[in-house]
């Protein structure tokens, strides 16, 4: 028995592969047809092949539990999610626009703060932000770019439009999984890559490398680029190693680096000390430099901020860039785009209530059962309340939290997240909710990944897609043309 698409019902949600009439969307026609041609045993064989591939490739992520850190195999669904090239191009332009404006905004905050003086953004939002770093005031990073690598979470609402859910401007992760998902899918569904116009995604590591080279303070032929990881116990260590390998750069930990008396950064090599030009750092601001931030941090490098401020090393992302991925600042991004670029935002924001505003706060408290409440500065889906899935007790608890620290909470309507067919049992396909995290690069030039990392909530009805909380992922196909070009 093969998949019975007549039984597939995404309810009233927008489905990525199947249209409202029950037919496959243009970008998914060949895929759906191909899947229907596989019987239950064949589907199961493909699923097992994917599982074995992941196991052998050692694609893993680390989960923190009370019993210690466990390396889990990457949860993966073999059915890809498709998006038409046409729609993607529009979205990609919107993502570049957004990051450009955000970088201008960060630069302004650490300089004249014109946007505050002009009354677009209230001053206290910066003053109270956990991620505003006074140490960065007056810095002028290359090309005016603070956030060189950004992971922006997009969701589709029931109207089929993409909305930005949040921007991750600190140390966004997931891009290696995006690349690995593609290699797995190529092994599992090779037939489709022959005929289907699936856009390649493999150029990300070289684009990232070019971006990092473009911000080197020394204008030399081969600047020394390194990826800096907090170490093997970090949940994204796999990705740090993967990117270093793909770019052909060194993967360093804080203990491999030292700042000299000349305020330059050096790495310890078998031949002695070697100067480092660009650090793609995957550790948080607070652990970068024990001289300036967390005194107890052993992950960082004493004097790193000194070297950065002296202009002797570039840090990507720059310290302090996180001020713009605050969920309160998020609410102002459309205004930020209009203010700096004099353009209308190409991708919409989700309606956001700021609990700091008394009117908004009252609305949130009154409607808490319908809303999603998020702390302003957490990531990974921690500390969130999903109103419709919560108990009265949890709601009361969050109302207390909001009242105690209103600046730290925002709320959004519970979105009708789009779904996509997902293999949930032997030959059984059901709709599961998902989001999309594209990665945007900005240095001298900008670049957006072709698609991104699709994360899917594997539990029926669940809206939580984070891998740390039971989420899985899928390959994401940007499809050029439909069936007409393909055959």
């Amino acid at each position: 028995m093969s998949i019975d698409w007549n039984q597939y019902d995404p309810n009233n949600f927008f489905d990525e592969l199947i249209g409202e009439n029950g037919e496959a969307r243009v970008s998914a026609e060949r895929l759906v047809e191909h899947l229907a041609s596989l019987d239950e045993g064949e589907l199961e064989a493909r699923r097992q092949m994917a599982e074995a591939t992941i196991h052998e490739m050692g694609v893993s992520f680390t989960v923190y539990t009370e019993e210690g850190n466990i390396d889990r195999a990457w949860p993966f669904d073999i059915i890809p999610r498709t998006i038409s090239k046409q729609q993607w191009e529009k979205t990609a332009a919107g993502l570049k626009q957004r990051l450009k404006a955000l970088n201008m905004f960060i630069g302004d905050l650490y300089d004249k703060q014109q946007i505050i003086k002009d009354g677009i953004i209230p001053e206290h939002i910066i003053r109270d932000s956990k991620n505003f770093r006074p140490e960065c005031i007056g810095m002028k990073p290359a090309h005016g770019v603070w956030a060189h690598i950004c992971g922006t979470d997009l969701v589709r609402d029931s109207d089929g439009e993409f909305y930005v859910l949040e921007d991750n401007l600190r140390v966004p992760s997931g891009v290696a999984y995006m690349l690995e998902n593609r290699s797995i899918t190529k092994r599992v569904l090779p037939e489709l890559f022959e005929k289907e116009g699936i856009m390649p995604i493999g150029d990300y590591p070289s684009r990232l490398f070019d971006t990092l080279v473009s911000i080197s303070p020394r204008r030399i032929k081969r600047p020394e680029i390194v990826v800096m990881t907090p170490g093997i116990f970090n949940s994204a260590y796999f990705e740090h190693a993967y990117l270093a390998q793909q770019m052909g750069t060194e993967l360093v930990e804080g203990s491999d680096l030292v700042v000299g008396d000349d305020d330059c950064v050096y790495m310890r090599t078998i031949a002695g000390l070697e100067r480092v030009d660009v650090i793609y750092r995957r550790i948080d601001d607070m652990f970068l430099d024990p001289e300036v931030f967390e005194k107890e941090s052993v992950l960082g490098v004493p004097g790193l901020m000194r070297a950065w401020r002296a202009g002797n090393v570039a840090l990507a992302n720059a310290p302090g860039a996180g001020v713009a991925d605050d969920k309160v600042v998020y609410a102002y991004v459309p205004d930020i785009i209009r203010y700096y670029l004099k353009e209308e935002p190409l991708i919409k924001n989700v309606k956001t209530y700021l609990c700091d505003d008394p009117e908004h706060r009252q609305y949130v408290i009154d409607h808490i059962a319908e809303l999603v409440v998020k702390p302003a500065n957490e990531s990974g889906g921690y500390g969130m309340l999903i109103g419709p899935h919560s108990t009265k007790k949890e709601q009361a608890h969050f109302i207390k939290l909001i009242k105690a620290d209103p600046r730290n909470y925002v709320a959004q309507p519970t979105l009708a997240l789009s779904t996509s067919p997902t293999l949930v049992g032997k030959g059984v396909v059901e709709p599961r909710h998902l989001d999309l995290r594209p990665f945007i690069l900005q240095g001298k030039n900008s670049y957006v990944t072709t698609g991104g990392l699709t994360r899917v909530a594997m539990k029926k009805g669940s809206l939580v897609v984070n891998s740390s909380q039971g989420g899985g992922s899928k390959d994401t196909w940007i499809v050029n043309g439909g069936i007409a070009d393909a055959i």
């Binding site: 052998e56 360093v252 078998i270 031949a271």
Partner: protein, 314 residues
């Protein structure tokens, strides 16, 4: 190349060599048991003595029987030199040097770890032990083959080479020492038959049996065996070959003066094998000295290339 990466590569090779050596040793003892008539009491515990692990063993087990020894050598995670512990170290170090190794090495190491962990019981029980150990040895050779066939002969390769040869040289001296020890015990009865069994076993443990016969063209004889395993320039597990390999390995590494000196010192210490005396205490003394030299050599490597000492800007 980062000091830390160099160090990890060196340890990958050392531990991988240890995994293979351990599997080989247990395998040789296993088959030896079938060859010996009942009156010979070859003791599995020799393998513990060989690895200088008596103290650790005593703290864990009472009986010196086969099961405990094999368990200790293959599976015990409190024994840092057990096969599984060494394999775990290989895996951890490969995991943190994936950026300088061929992509498939991680997959292979991962596969081997999964296989070893899943089937370890087969190694402990007698019935399927041979197949299990053969697969482990194959897995190690597959990984070494991949590295040999695909890696640039740059610094990364040289550190792997140093680790492999240092570990190998160490094992060769240990095997010879075990032979000499057994010989001394046996001499009480001056039974020549024991000598044949003992030294044949030393050769088999180093996979040297056939090469020995082809090169030395003689039956198994203690001094010939010692000469072959110490001085043969072409056999890849001979002490001499390992030292030569390391001398070549450091040739293009930076700041290699101290390592060069340490290596040449080891070639200068010779043992007079021509005398009529049988291999006894003096021979063991010599082997012991070379083991100390190997330990010093490791220290030199460590200080020259790995030590994370805070150096000023140079």
């Amino acid at each position: 190349m980062l000091s830390k990466v160099a160090e990890r590569l060196y340890w990958i090779a050392r531990h991988l060599e240890r995994v293979e050596n351990t599997a080989r040793l247990v395998s040789v003892y296993d088959s030896l048991l079938f060859d010996l008539p009942g009156e010979f009491d070859i003791s599995w515990y020799n393998l513990v003595t060989l690895n200088s692990a008596e103290k650790l063993f005593e703290s864990r087990y009472k009986n010196h029987d086969e099961r405990n020894v094999v368990k200790f050598l293959l599976a015990d995670d409190t024994n840092p030199s057990s096969m599984l512990s060494a394999l775990k170290m290989v895996r951890e170090n490969v995991r943190t040097t994936r950026d300088v190794l061929p992509q498939e090495s991680w997959e292979m190491v991962n596969e081997l770890s999964i296989y070893a962990t899943k089937n370890i019981q087969q190694g402990i029980n007698r019935s399927a032990r041979h197949e299990f150990l053969t697969n482990i040895i194959k897995g190690c050779q597959q990984i070494n083959g991949l590295l040999t066939g695909t890696m640039c002969r740059d610094a990364s390769w040289q550190f792997l080479r140093l680790g492999r040869n240092l570990e190998r040289a160490d094992m060769t001296t240990r095997l010879l020492d075990a032979g000499a020890a057994a010989q001394l015990e046996g001499e009480v009865e001056t039974d020549m038959h024991i000598s044949q069994v003992v030294w044949g076993n030393v050769l088999r443990s180093s996979s040297a049996e056939l090469s020995y016969r082809r090169t030395m063209r003689s039956a198994v004889h203690e001094k010939d065996v010692a000469e072959f395993l110490l001085e043969d320039p072409d056999f890849p597990r001979s002490f001499r070959f390992c030292i030569d390999s390391m001398i070549n390995g450091i040739k293009n590494l930076p700041n290699n003066a101290a390592a060069k000196k340490a290596l040449h010192t080891m070639l200068e210490v010779e043992f007079e094998l021509d005398s009529d005396k049988r291999l006894g205490f003096e021979f063991r003394e010599y082997l012991n000295q070379q083991q100390v030299n190997l330990g010093n050599l490791h220290q030199v490597f460590n200080q020259t290339w790995f030590a994370m000492l805070k150096r000023g800007t140079e």
